[in-house]
């Protein structure tokens, strides 16, 4: 998500967010540094200070380095040589916890076996260096922090070299480094651990020289995750595992319909439940109201919540019904509206071939395996939060507003998270705000303990936020050669960012997170009309955002034109690319070559399917094999061709492609939908909002196009092309296109 945000827009977005708190203006931008060097019992390299002036090697003052450029915030070297690298993003499966240290360790010339990793916070040092806000999203971590972490490593290395030169009284030019050691003339050597204390006192150099990529020995190597052992032994702590002395757990009863409030509450049985400390009315997202139960542990809190007798006033709130909503969207699709693309539609009526198609995509829950949670500890003039969040800065500012504090009085301790897929990056900061409301209400009621507010799986599935439901309608005219003469397209779906801090990106009434992936990269004469109906169902980005639906529409329709005009779908796409889109060509060609598409005889009943899509600056192509068994589409085999420029950790890219593809598969399989009836979400847990299991996992090979260009991200781009490749294979078996997700029986 957010890949189209221009860097100069984002600081303003953050500023607007802060200005919502009228007491504090832009002057309240977080500037305090609360980095504390703890936990390794050793010395931190440059233990101070974001605001220290960088100095040239000759000692002359230079321009100050930004907090995001200060090695002190990112590198600690213990006397035993352990190098701990702080990550400026949320680790929630995508592997930045390993990739960012790899990048830094490369330029530091560290001994990889001694490299560790730790989480950051809402400190200014950990802002995205390109966007200027705290953000994990849009597959941006490696793209935006590659050079940053190289420079951090190079600066730290230069300080170690200076320390060694001073110790041995030799010219720094006579020194070199190798795997955590400084080597000098006459066989002198010293480990980074030995030099760390002296290096702390050295000036932070502004000018540094980065390695020639041909000398890389860490970047590009297939590397096992730093957290692999901890995550294979129950030793990895997540936000949900936070445990402070005296900590209590809260669960919140929410209304059955979005936005409803309490009509009457009988909490006598809940209060009588063993272990219950407080029952509190709390304001919820979207003007709703809920009842928080605070207890010793989750089980007591849940039992007490079950014992609440609440009547909800739902009479005045909108009650969305999926069937009626679909009819409304169909009606909207035939209305004029704002145009995202425009072209001459006159050739449509006389085109030799005409294709009319309607696509329907449901709401989708993110359903990360770790249920949402946030632990809040209030003090007199400050508060600490422990939370797995993609937006620690925005969440901290929102917490400050709820708690009547200044943003710099909130410390957000980012916790390793059990998945997220967009759900932990919420412009309304919903689950963090709720946890702060609970802590505030508890304190008012005399309960001063730290409180972990924890969601049940039912809370997660039933309470939003969702990938918006969408309807697409296309009318396409083309000739016998497959040349598209006119493509008239309507897209209907709620806007994700309108009314949020990112709302400035909505132009001409069109939300770019809904249209991303349309038309690109095909040179098509397209008119694209966009409608964003307003409904009270909370919506949000879901791994790969707009491309979750636009790639399906584009890649199945392109395939259908190829089928209708009796052209090979790979050859047809290559013809459309022409000399343009070299990364699309290379990714698709690699998948074709490795899969032996069209050359290898498939097992009886199977067909090939192909799709390719660019999202978040990376391109992924799939060649798949699928069949239909008892009317049910089955995916057997997937070959991926990936173009993400230079690869930091190929092992991680493979994992991200497989994982994103499987999330793409979750859109296709039965149970991959959230629906509403009379305002009530119809699904509640993994029994009725089902996700793929190991039995759904196809054979899967990932191949990467070699490249030396600056890296692009891989958290999301593996998702979009999977579903259309699967659908295309099924359509070539049945002759009937699949235009609704999840797939119906064929």
């Amino acid at each position: 998500m957010l890949n189209e945000i221009f860097p100069n827009e984002l600081p303003r977005a953050l500023q607007q967010m802060l200005e919502r708190d009228e007491a504090d203006g832009p002057a309240a931008l977080p500037r305090r540094s609360f980095l504390k060097i703890v936990g390794i019992g050793g010395l931190a390299l440059g233990a101070f200070p974001h605001l220290a002036l960088a100095q040239e090697a000759n000692g002359a003052a230079a321009a100050p380095l930004k907090p995001t450029q200060q090695p002190s915030a990112f590198v600690q070297i213990a006397p035993n040589g352990e190098v701990t690298v702080t990550i400026n993003r949320l680790e929630f499966g995508q592997g930045v916890q390993t990739a960012l240290p790899m990048i830094l360790a490369e330029e530091l010339d560290a001994d990889w076996s001694l490299v560790r990793s730790r989480n950051g916070s809402n400190d200014a040092a950990y802002m995205d260096p390109a966007f200027g806000i705290h953000l994990t999203g849009g597959s941006n971590t490696i793209k935006n922090s590659y050079t940053q972490y190289r420079e951090l490593g190079a600066r730290a290395r230069a300080m170690l070299l200076s320390a060694a030169a001073a110790r041995w009284n030799v010219d720094v030019a006579s020194l070199r480094t190798q795997a955590g050691m400084v080597l000098g003339p006459e066989g002198r050597k010293a480990s980074y651990g030995e030099l760390a204390e002296a290096a702390m006192a050295m000036p932070v150099p502004e000018q540094i020289t980065l390695k020639d990529p041909k000398d890389f020995r860490i970047i590009g190597q297939a590397t096992t995750r730093i957290d692999a052992k901890a995550k294979s032994s129950g030793q990895q702590d997540f936000g949900i595992d936070m445990h402070l002395p005296g900590q209590l757990t809260a669960v919140v009863a929410r209304p059955p319909v979005f936005g409803a409030r309490i009509a009457s509450l009988d909490d006598s049985a809940a209060r009588a439940t063993k272990g219950v400390k407080a029952v509190l009315r709390v304001p919820l997202d979207g003007g709703a109201e809920g009842v928080a139960v605070v207890a010793d542990g989750y089980w007591q809190a849940k039992l007490a919540r079950d014992a609440l007798k609440v009547e909800w006033n739902t009479s005045t709130v909108e009650k969305v019904d999926s069937e009626k909503q679909l009819a409304q969207y169909r009606e909207l699709a035939s209305q004029p509206g704002p145009l995202h693309f425009d072209a001459d539609m006159t050739p449509l009526a006389s085109a030799p071939h005409q294709l009319d198609a309607e696509f329907v995509f449901p709401y989708l829950a993110h359903a990360p395996m770790e249920p949402l949670n946030c632990t809040v500890q209030l003090a007199q003039d400050s508060a600490q939060l422990w939370v797995g969040t993609q937006f620690p800065g925005g969440d901290g500012a929102a917490a400050a507003k709820v708690l009547n504090l200044k943003p710099e009085q909130i410390q957000v301790n980012v916790q390793t998270a059990g998945g997220g897929f967009g759900r932990r990056g919420v412009p309304t900061n919903d689950f963090v705000v709720m946890a702060c409301e609970v802590a505030k209400a508890a304190r008012t009621a005399g309960v001063n303990a730290p409180i972990r507010t924890l969601w049940s799986r039912e809370d997660d599935i039933k309470s939003g936020y969702y990938r918006p439901m969408h309807l697409h309608r296309a009318r396409i005219g083309f000739d016998d050669s497959g040349k598209v003469l006119a493509w008239d397209h309507a897209l209907v779906g709620q806007s994700i960012i309108t009314g949020t801090v990112f709302g400035g990106r909505v132009k001409n009434g069109i939300d770019p997170t809904a249209t991303e992936g349309m038309r690109n990269p095909y040179p098509l004469p397209m008119r694209l009309t966009v409608h964003h109906p307003k409904l009270n169902v909370p919506v949000l980005w879901w791994r790969s955002v707009g491309s979750t639906h636009t790639a399906f529409v584009m890649e199945t329709l392109i395939d259908e034109i190829a089928r209708t005009t009796k052209q090979d779908p790979v050859a047809y796409r290559m013809k459309l690319f022409g000399d343009q889109s070299p990364r699309h060509r290379e990714a698709l060609q690699l998948a074709v070559d490795k899969s032996e598409y069209g050359k290898r005889q498939l097992a009886a009943g199977r067909a090939w399917g192909v799709a390719v899509h660019e999202s978040f600056s990376s391109v992924v192509a799939y060649v798949v094999e699928a069949s239909v068994q008892d009317g049910r589409p089955v995916l057997h085999n997937v070959t991926a061709g990936v173009h993400c420029n230079l690869v930091v950790n190929p092992r991680s890219v493979e994992a991200q492609v497989q994982g994103a593809a499987l999330m793409g598969l979750s859109m296709c399989l039965p149970g991959g939908a959230v629906t509403l009836k009379d305002g009530v979400v119809q699904q509640s847990n993994f029994a009725d909002f089902s996700v793929p299991r190991i039995t759904d996992m196809p054979e899967f090979a990932v191949h990467i196009v070699p490249s030396a260009e600056p890296p692009t991200g891989m958290g999301e781009p593996g998702l979009p092309a999977l579903a259309p490749a699967f659908a295309n294979a099924v359509a070539s078996l049945t002759g009937k296109p699949l235009r609704e997700l999840p797939f119906k029986l064929v």
């Binding site: 499966g93 692999a228 849940k302």
Partner: protein, 157 residues
């Protein structure tokens, strides 16, 4: 007061006998390696062994564990159990985890499955899939889970 045997150690806990094993482990005893995913025996994140059988601790009350032996991820992968160790090593070798949240449950299911395999028998992919089908991984690590279970079986053969 209930007496529980967890990882070979006796504990006395003052919780209602209807309390699920999961919350007794996590909130009462502070053993957080066992994870909460769904609360309804649908996802397998909370899998532990009860007398060697893989069970869903989110729906199994402690009353059902009295007089039996509970084994959790902490003990299965601490080096004392050859099967658990083989599974742990294979998980690391294949770099299975992404977010890692479901992996305690995955490893407990895999360990129970391999303990029940006849000595020297290499499970088929279908058998592995069947044994692991109760454990959801939203990150989609299934290809590596498959490979790791097969590899662990090989090292134990």
């Amino acid at each position: 007061m209930s007496a529980l045997n967890i990882n070979g150690r006796e504990y006395t806990v003052d919780v209602d006998p209807g309390t699920p094993i999961l919350w007794t482990l996590r909130d009462t005893l502070g053993m957080t390696g066992t994870k909460f995913g769904c609360g309804a025996a649908l996802c397998g994140a909370c899998t532990v062994h009860l007398d060697g059988q893989a069970i869903r601790s989110c729906v199994t009350p402690i009353a059902a564990a009295v007089g039996k032996k509970i084994t959790t991820i902490e003990a299965a992968t601490n080096g004392s159990d050859p099967v658990g160790s083989a599974v742990h090593d294979a998980w690391v070798k294949h770099d299975v985890a992404q977010c890692g949240y479901c992996q305690s449950g995955q490893i407990m299911s895999a360990t129970a499955f391999l303990k029940a395999q006849p000595k020297g028998k290499q499970p088929t992919v279908a058998e592995i899939d069947s044994a692991m089908a109760g454990n959801i991984c939203r990150c989609g690590t299934y290809a590596r889970i498959r490979a790791a279970v097969a590899d662990a079986a090989k090292t134990l053969a």
